[in-house]
């Protein structure tokens, strides 16, 4: 009986794909494309009994935090690419599902959610249940490297091997894909966030200056690099002197930031190298021919492709739309249910 209602409500709902990232959540609506791109942030208030009450989600949460200081604080329910708080994640999913439909009733969509490749059975079930509680009538889980490969336009259903490196905010996933399946995958909890953190620590140690995460991110984007480029870039950085406590501005250059990013970048490079070493030679040969594809925000780090090429001796290409690859790939499979059933993670 309930299935009939689900089917009926499903007719009034739009299928959607959700990339629940550590830093940002993207939602793809079938037939429309990416319609939501908001921070994965939730504004919560600590109640006197110790429980947390969710007030706002996404961009509204970020705006609220800037305006009304108090017992309201920000929580990022995704840490290092995995769900750290399921209750709050459920609230986030509910918010995005309802936002996309512009209403709260008769909303029972089919939802595709992207998950990290190393996810455990328990975590898979928890994600599914969160989404179902948030209003989804059918939930499919698809691993992020798979989604990224589809989004990058790689021929994943063919027998030849494809290698994708998805560098997100919380994690980096390296996977070899063939015949619509992940042949080998390696994941590391090293991504854009840890790069920002490395920059914060470097500047603190060298200049005794405390900078915020947003400043660190802007440094990474403007002058960060993985490999020396033809010109030396520099940037004015605002922070607080740790001894006097007052605001201070200094100048840093790309050589210093490259030094700061050495450890996180090397971690990513090592993960790629290990993945290549463990790949069957037949597939490795395909990868040498076709190249390694980079996706995710971290793929945009200047000269990271050059460094990987240098280390692996394999061509490295950056996907056309690295930031949106994962959600675009998940969105594509909404139109191809047969493919979706092939690539979805069994739960």
């Amino acid at each position: 009986m309930l299935k009939i209602f689900d089917y009926l409500f499903g007719m009034f709902s739009n299928d959607l794909a959700i990339d629940l990232g550590t830093a940002n959540t993207l939602v793809y609506l079938k037939g429309k494309g990416i319609i939501v791109r908001e921070p994965s942030v939730v504004a919560v208030q600590r109640m006197p009994n110790g429980r947390q009450m969710v007030l706002k989600v996404g961009m509204e949460a970020k705006m609220m935090l800037g305006r009304t200081p108090g017992s309201i604080t920000a929580i990022r329910p995704m840490k290092d690419g995995v769900i750290a708080d399921f209750d709050i994640t459920e609230e986030m999913l509910r918010y995005f599902i309802q936002k996309v439909h512009n209403r709260k009733t008769l909303v029972r969509p089919r939802v595709v959610i992207c998950v990290p490749s190393g996810i455990t059975q328990v975590e898979k079930r928890a994600v599914k249940e969160s989404a179902e509680s948030a209003g989804a009538r059918e939930v499919y889980l698809i691993e992020e490297p798979m989604a990224a490969s589809i989004g990058a336009g790689l021929p994943i259903t063919e027998a030849s091997g494809n290698m994708i490196v998805d560098i997100g905010g919380g994690t980096t996933e390296v996977a070899v894909i063939s015949l619509a399946g992940i042949v080998y995958a390696q994941s590391t909890r090293m991504g854009g966030d840890k790069m920002d953190e490395a920059i914060v620590q470097y500047i603190r140690k060298k200049y005794n200056l405390q900078i915020g995460e947003r400043m660190a991110e802007s440094i990474k984007i403007e002058i960060g690099e993985a490999y020396p480029g033809p010109e030396l870039l520099s940037k004015q950085v605002k922070g607080r002197d740790l001894v006097s406590g007052i605001p201070k501005t200094i100048e840093v250059n790309s050589d210093e930031i490259r030094e700061a990013l050495k450890e996180p970048v090397n971690s990513i490079v090592d993960t790629v190298r290990i993945c290549l070493e463990k790949t069957p030679p037949e597939l490795a040969a395909d990868i040498v021919d076709k190249g390694i594809f980079l996706a995710g925000g971290g793929a945009m780090l200047r000269n990271l492709d050059m460094l990987l090429r240098e280390v692996t001796k394999v061509p490295v290409l950056i996907a056309e739309n690295p930031l949106d690859c994962v959600v675009l790939g998940s969105g594509k499979v909404l139109d191809e249910l047969n493919l979706l059933r092939r690539v979805a993670v069994p739960s």
Binding site: R67, G70, S71, T73, A74, E197, G212, L242, G245, I246
Partner: protein, 350 residues
Amino acid sequence: MFCSSAAVSCMCLCCMWEDKNAMPYSNADIIVPVWNSPFETRACLAAILESAPGARLIVVDNGSSRETERMLEEFSEPLGDNGLFVKSDRNLGLIRAINMGLSLSDRAFAVLVRPHVLVSKGWLAPLLEAAQHGMATSSVSTGAASGSAAVVETFDVTFSVLALSRELLRQIGSFDEGLDGGEWCLKDFVRRAWQQGYRTSLSLNSQVIVGAETVFGSGERLAELAKNSSQEYHQRWGEARCYAVYFGKQADPAQFADVAGIMLAAARKGHRFNVFLHMKQHQQFADAGWVSMHRSVECHRLSRMFAGKDLEKRYALLKSSCPGLIAVSGNEAVLLPGETTAITFSEVQQ
């Protein structure tokens, strides 16, 4: 700082701090020593910003975790020069962190606020007024307005909220880091302040909400620390005593003024007085302002009908709760129930 909000009433931090003309607290530094508890700390800082425009915030991050650091970074961004945020990579302990904050303060008043405290609207003005003559602390919020006395002298202060005048700090320096981080350290500070002629007050109109404070360390270690600190304190300043005073029903009111002066001077050194007064005497004390002259001088009004019985009962209760209680007689012929001797006020003065 430009506020991009188009709303007529903008609630963002930068706007609250932009209108310097409306900021009456430009003479105060508010020092907050922080160690983790980001939720609670954030609420404390936000309440301070909202209720004390113009006051400069000095936050001493005492080796907090990254989560708390992030929260402080977010908070400090819109403040610019109106906030000092310093960090110690290792936890220095509470007193050292407070002293670090005091060393950075250069305004007329330095106000300490612990993160487990929530200040309320209008807390700072009465506190600063009370601290004019030295230092002052706020009272725990009861929601009720204070009685006739807005400011009462006291010997008991806490680090929860404590306002110190610049002059006082210049004269006596900072807190003794060798003593415990609580009772004896504060008592020593109050005694040093009094030695230089400064008073310690409780501002009844300055009300704050004090949350539960987590005390770290084993009972044994804390007891040992308190014992060592109390020994050090007693070596420097002597023992504090608890007195019970009774004048008798027929006491000459002319003596009260002198007696009040002696009690006040002794209370300022940490001694405690419990004064048993008949109805008329209590009224005389109240009219002269002696009932609320010092928190360590507690006046007990005896019942009109059965004063003798009331005195006996109260004195017995006091004796059981205060070992080492010393009976003081305002009249040689009158003694407290059950006592065969009592000392005089001249002996108290000595």
